[in-house]
């Protein structure tokens, strides 16, 4: 078991290197000249050479990559074009906020989706089932930014409630922080709830159709045991896969939600970086988010081994 985890961690290295290489290569497609963009009208050949040397742009491409990645693994993501500040500490402090938002959203979506999915599967083909399926289809189809805009519109027109502006960190005032984060988290969470609901319903139905469910009933099990001990545990396997994948879309969705609600998380940092053409910031943020996503999926894979005895630790995935 431990050997399996270590081996999976070792496999992480080539994946992360590949991702960083990909980011690096995409960065090469930036049209025009970054240097002249930075220097503007003050450009002189001397200044240009000086800056090129400072940024390492005078070196061949592969050296530039090695240079960048060897610094990055040590937590040095370079400095921002705009502010001149170190990027990595900024990413870490912003990530805390995004992390909180994502976790809140995920928990909210599970609270909504899993019980409804179970209910829908149990009452299959009933009115409740139809209603839940409609809600989940809507959840899959309504983009979070549309939901957010409509929610703000409804709350302000109908209830005279305006979402708070001005972010307060959880360490400063936890209650105020939760007040601010609640609406964004609900909206981000419900955009994920639809697919979790669908997956819960379909994988539970799939499990209930399996032969072994008949055996368990034939042994004299109550419906409670059939559902909560056997079916749910079996159905959990595909649900967990989906949840792992969903964390990725939550991180992506955070970009949009943070923008709408002015939450200074990693998503907003990325977006500001893009808008200001601050490429070291963009590069750092994207690398970091991809890194987090890979770690999440690894955690999910390891979680499996606790649920599903059929996964052999020796034979790779």
């Amino acid at each position: 078991m431990r050997a399996y985890i270590i081996r999976r961690l070792m496999l992480l290295i080539p994946i992360l290197l590949g991702i960083s290489l990909m980011i690096f290569l995409i960065m090469q497609f930036i049209p025009g000249d970054v240097i002249s963009g930075m220097l503007g009208i003050e450009e002189t050949p001397e200044l240009r050479a000086q800056l090129e040397k400072k940024l390492g742009l005078d070196q061949p491409l592969y050296k530039q990559y090695i240079n960048w990645i060897s610094k990055a693994v040590r937590g040095d993501f370079g400095t921002s074009f705009r502010t001149g500040k170190d990027i990595f500490p900024e990413i870490m402090s912003r990530f805390k906020i995004t992390f909180q938002l994502t976790i809140m959203a995920a928990i909210i979506s599970w609270i909504i989706a899993i019980p409804l999915g179970i209910l829908s599967a149990m009452k299959r083909n009933s009115i409740i089932d139809g209603f839940v399926r409609f809600i989940s289809l809507l959840g899959v189809s309504v983009p979070s930014f549309a939901l957010a805009t409509l929610a703000i519109l409804l709350l302000s027109k109908g209830f005279n409630y305006y979402p708070s502006v001005g972010y307060v960190d959880i360490t400063v005032d936890p209650i105020r922080n939760l007040e601010i984060m609640f609406l964004p988290a609900i909206i981000l969470g419900s955009s994920m709830a639809g697919s979790v609901m669908r997956m819960t319903r379909s994988s539970l139905l799939e499990t209930l159709r399996q032969d072994f469910i008949k055996t368990i009933r034939a042994k004299g099990a109550s419906e409670k045991v059939v559902l909560f001990v056997h079916s749910l545990k079996n159905a959990l396997i595909p649900i967990i896969t989906l949840i792992g994948m969903q964390i990725g879309s939550l991180l992506g969705g955070a970009v949009v939600i943070e923008q709408i609600f002015s939450i200074p998380g990693l998503g907003l940092m990325t977006l500001t970086g893009i808008n200001q053409r601050d490429f070291p910031v963009v590069q750092g943020c994207v690398l970091f988010i991809a890194f987090v996503y890979v770690i999440v999926n690894l955690t999910v894979d390891i979680l499996y081994t606790y649920i599903d005895p059929r996964i052999t630790y020796k034979a790779g995935r």
Binding site: G18, I19, I26, L138, P143, T149, R277
Partner: protein, 279 residues
């Protein structure tokens, strides 16, 4: 593979699927006939009538520049669908080729292709699309390219998985034993057999692409003004939420209807083409 007519009849039988088809049809008609449906120029500004509520002349009201929202919505359908089709075209074509190759030659080539796909999968899709657009610069073409690249891995995986399962069937072995060349086997025997999962994937990807485009435009990094896009219209509307809520409602409604219709159609298409998925 069932004939097209059978698939169509199957879709019609399903009550919910019918609703999805109607929705998709409305959007397609709006896109194809936008010059005839729209009753105003989409870029024509008129300060005198700015932010007017819906009325018999301006069905969905006007925006902050006095442009007709209804006409912009109609042309927005054209933009959405166009971006969706082209980007799905990009990802479907490249996914098809990469998937066929990776599935047919499972060895080194397959491994290389699939590792690149796995790496693309390591990014949240909207983030990767934003990143590509950030690098290339925001424009209509770059939006399509970005969404096309982001969706490629899903197609590659679907195609590869089907190729591998079809490849082990006995009729492929027999085709090989009578001396057919690889390319002949791929085109004649494998391709027709993977059409069903491929079609379902394409329909679902279309709604995904439309959603991604709307999100990108909402963030100001997709379709650029003065082209009408539902995402950017919705984004603009937020400034005038108090004065003109209709500006938010019309684009939201159309984004939701479009994506919902395509999702419903994709679902019932999957049920028709692959009954074992039906639950």
């Amino acid at each position: 593979m069932e004939s097209l007519k059978e698939v169509f009849m199957g879709l019609l039988k399903d009550r919910v699927g019918r609703l999805g088809m109607i929705g998709v049809l409305i959007i397609i008609i709006m896109a194809l006939l936008s010059p005839y449906i729209a009753n105003h120029d989409v870029t024509e500004m008129n300060a005198k009538i700015k932010l007017s509520p819906p009325n018999s002349e301006y069905f969905f009201g006007t925006d902050e520049f006095g442009r007709d929202v209804f006409s912009r919505i109609v042309y927005g359908a054209r933009v959405s669908l166009w971006v969706g089709l082209i980007s799905v075209g990009i990802s479907a074509t490249s996914g098809l080729i990469l998937g066929l190759v990776a599935g047919y030659y499972e060895g080194k080539i397959g491994t290389v292709i699939m590792s690149i796909m796995d790496m693309l999968f390591a990014f949240p899709s909207i983030l990767l699309a934003l990143f590509i657009v950030a690098v290339l610069g925001p424009s209509l073409t770059n939006t399509m390219i970005a969404i096309g690249i982001v969706n490629t891995p899903v197609f590659t995986r679907t195609v590869r998985a089907s190729v591998i399962s079809v490849k082990s069937m006995e009729y492929i072995t027999s085709a090989r034993s009578i001396g057919l060349r690889d390319i002949q086997i791929i085109l004649k025997h494998i391709l027709p057999n993977i059409l069903a999962p491929f079609t379902v994937q394409a329909t679902l990807a279309l709604s995904g692409a439309i959603l991604t485009e709307a999100s990108m435009s909402f963030l100001g990094l997709g379709i650029q003004p003065p082209d009408p896009s539902w995402g950017s219209m919705l984004s603009e509307s937020r400034k005038y939420m108090e004065l003109a809520p209709w500006l938010a409602i019309a684009p939201s409604a159309f984004i939701i209807i479009t994506i919902l219709s395509f999702n419903i159609m994709g679902d019932s298409l999957r049920d028709v083409l692959d009954p074992k998925f039906k639950l």
